[in-house]
């Protein structure tokens, strides 16, 4: 009897989560409220059941959040009994650690400063992230357990070979690792798993009526952080989000899908990748993600 693909992927993820929990002193799970981090949290719950998750959850808060996501974050943390650590980009800006560039509205890039500060403050030595290799070309080359130097940087040319299911987690003080249990999952796998496991998601992921405007071929949510040009008219549409991030650069897609099965149906028929469709930050250049990762981004 062969295991199904989701069972194989789940098993691999549980193994990595347990390895990191066993070998690191101060791990934490990066939780954005997005679907990948919701799946990650579910896997962490499963890895230690019936005991509670033995590490805290870290949210890097851009201040540009959808209300629904914050509500979801707080409720899930309470339900699971995990400690929630919120690191705020606004605090980094107020402290002069991060500067919003002229004309730059998205705070995605500033998150790196806040993240690295939070790692230093809480002395985290391992962070779980929900990144998948199918998302983007630089991620396709990243290890499941990815080493970061004491500046938080990723060096793609100097990665540790990862053989069988052995993860070399040896680090010096000040260094840390990022662990990506969903590395080998595709977007379809994530949705199928959400369906199978009844993983709860913020309501943003399902079709709802919202005031949006069009920019660069993307539908952006009406929000207080993003000035609109006069010709960018607000219209009310039935939309859903494929990813959840900074409100100012996360686009919505027209959708009528109100259930997981309907979302899967729309995804199967889609012609554009998740990031290409809805993430302005990755459109900047073909190497945008690679550059951000080198600097210490998720």
């Amino acid at each position: 009897m062969q295991l199904s693909r989701l069972d194989v992927l789940e098993s691999e993820a549980l193994h990595l989560i347990r390895e990191v929990a066993a070998e690191f002193d101060r791990p934490a799970l990066l939780f954005s409220g997005g679907k990948d981090s919701a799946v990650l949290l579910k896997l962490a719950e499963k890895a230690f059941a019936p005991a509670p998750i033995p590490f805290p959850v870290l949210h890097v808060d851009t201040g540009h959040n959808f209300e629904e996501v914050l509500e979801f974050r707080d409720r899930r943390a309470t339900e699971l009994g995990v400690r929630l650590v919120v690191a705020s980009v606004q605090d980094s800006i107020d402290a002069g650690r991060a500067t919003e560039a002229e004309g730059q509205v998205s705070r995605n890039r500033l998150q790196t400063v806040t993240l690295l500060d939070a790692i230093a403050e809480h002395r985290f030595d391992a962070l779980f992230g929900g990144a998948r290799r199918d998302e983007e070309r630089a991620r396709a080359k990243e290890r499941m357990l990815s080493f970061r130097d004491s500046f938080g940087q990723w060096d793609p040319r100097n990665q540790r070979p990862e053989l069988w299911n052995l993860y070399n987690g040896m680090i010096h003080p000040g260094e840390n690792v990022r662990a990506f249990p969903l590395s080998n999952w595709t977007e379809r796998d994530v949705w199928t798993y959400i369906d199978r496991e009844r993983v709860e998601l913020p309501s943003l992921y399902f079709a709802h009526n919202r005031k949006v405007f069009e920019r660069d071929g993307m539908l952006l949510a009406d929000n207080p952080f993003l000035p609109r040009d006069p010709e960018e008219q607000l219209v009310e549409r039935s939309v859903r989000f494929r990813t959840v991030g900074d409100m100012t650069c996360t686009g919505a897609v027209p959708s009528e899908a109100t259930t997981v099965a309907e979302v899967i149906a729309e995804i199967a028929a889609t012609k554009v990748t998740e990031r290409g469709q809805t993430r302005a930050d990755d459109r900047a250049s073909a190497a945008a993600m690679e550059d951000r990762k080198r600097e210490g981004y998720f």
Binding site: E19, E162, T273
Partner: protein, 429 residues
């Protein structure tokens, strides 16, 4: 060219349920990137923005045709220099199966990447340029696949269009390959004549080679039986983590089954203690299993209160793992900074246990292009050789030939923490 306006091929609510991991190795000129691009493109795994990026980038470089190779050249340095640096992972699926490709560069200096990619592969594709026949590189790839015991091998004879689709060229290469690999104990070899550039026999069977009656590469990948050898091996559970929930009086030992299967009521042997006990439950977060099997992640509850911790193993009592403090092993040395020689002290990471290790001897080096073993007293970057190791504490292992997960290990440099060697255990004492 397939257009993206057609509906997706795969039936939505019956997604492919089995997974095949395969490794490719090849150099820039073998057309490996083109082959992978062709698989993704012709199986309609590319979405509109990926195609658009590809068209733009191909035009920028002045290419008339889509440069499918660019799909897999991920990092900036690679795009600029037209090379592949590291293991890249690609994902695609058809109605029949989902695939994970470990795409590795083929030059000798990237042997360590190939070893990494092959370590978990169910199948490896060795790519040969029909014009050149077997080269040093293709021999190396076959040897590595054999050494890592990849269960299935495909000999893809590429660029058949450049030899006039001539059957005798294909036969000649196939025979030469069979002669070379006789000593490798390869388990299954499937030769397929292809042209990645034109798409012949990659996804669709080619009209240009009517003499070839076998499956296209994709048909083969979709249908090849992957022996479920993990679950027929002897039972092994390296313990990762002890899960305790005192308020529920719960204590269980979590790990990923590295071989065989286990059911409630069956006896297990605990190492290092040598004590036997009975499994009372095979738990998952979703409930108890009637039987857990490799590679499932499970939590075992035991009938007796014995001291079990991370790094221990629970195994089949009648066919236990060997508790070994001395190993003979094949090693692929991966450090660009140092050589491996007798006296070296390293950390051996094996399953869930890390122990100090001393290299007692370097016996020989394998010439991976001729399969000859020559005397050696040290190994450099990407060398493969046989060594002896003495361990500070025992590991609970099997020969690599019997179990890839309990027979494989890595060597870690204690000061830099770099992973410097891949170890395939041949003998354990």
């Amino acid at each position: 060219m397939t257009t993206v306006d057609e509906p997706a091929t795969d039936p939505l609510f019956a997604p492919a349920d089995s997974l095949l991991r395969f490794a490719t190795a090849g150099a820039v000129d073998d057309g490996k990137s083109t082959l992978i691009g062709r698989l993704l493109h012709d199986s309609r795994s590319l979405l509109a923005d990926q195609l658009e990026q590809l068209e733009l980038a191909s035009k920028e470089r002045g290419d008339e045709q889509l440069d499918l190779a660019m799909l897999t050249d991920g990092l900036r340095a690679e795009r600029e220099q037209g090379i592949t640096i590291d293991v890249a992972h690609r994902y695609f699926e058809t109605a029949r199966r989902a695939f994970i490709i470990a795409d590795t560069p083929g030059h000798a200096q990237y042997t360590r990447n190939m070893v990494t990619g092959a370590s978990t592969a169910d199948l490896a594709i060795v790519l040969v340029d029909a014009r050149n026949g077997l080269t040093e590189q293709s021999r190396r790839h076959a040897v590595l696949a054999g050494l890592l015991r990849v269960p299935q091998l495909v000999l893809a004879v590429n660029k058949m269009d450049l030899v006039g689709h001539d059957e005798s060229v294909f036969r000649g290469i196939t025979e030469e390959f069979a002669a070379f690999t006789e000593r490798l104990r390869l388990r299954s070899v499937t030769p397929i004549p292809i042209s990645a550039l034109n798409g012949d026999n990659v996804v669709h069977r080619s009209a240009a080679m009517p003499w070839y009656e076998g499956p296209s590469l994709l048909e083969h990948l979709e249908t090849v039986e992957v022996a479920d050898e993990g679950s027929t091996a002897d039972f092994r559970l390296p313990v990762q983590y002890a899960i305790r929930a005192p308020e529920r009086d719960y204590r269980g030992y979590a790990g990923q089954i590295a071989g065989g299967s286990i059911a409630p009521g069956e006896e297990v042997l605990h190492l290092p203690s040598g004590m036997r006990t009975r499994v009372t439950a095979v738990d998952t977060a979703d409930g108890e299993l009637e039987r857990g099997r490799a590679p499932q992640s499970v939590t075992l509850r035991l009938a007796d209160d014995i001291d079990v911790g991370r790094g221990d193993v629970l195994c089949a009592p009648d066919r236990p793992a060997t508790a070994a403090e001395e190993l003979t092993a094949s090693v692929c040395w991966m450090s660009p900074r140092s050589e491996l020689a007798a006296g070296a002290r390293l950390v051996l990471k094996h399953t869930t246990r890390s122990v100090k290790a001393e290299v007692t001897e370097v016996r020989e080096r394998l010439d991976v292009t001729t399969l000859e073993r020559g005397p050696a007293d040290r190994l450099g970057l990407n060398d493969i050789g046989e060594i002896g190791l003495r361990l500070a504490r025992p590991v609970f292992c099997d020969p690599y030939a019997a179990n890839r997960f309990t027979g494989g290990a890595v060597l870690i440099d204690e000061s830099t923490h770099a992973t410097v060697g891949a170890v395939l255990i041949t003998e354990a004492r």
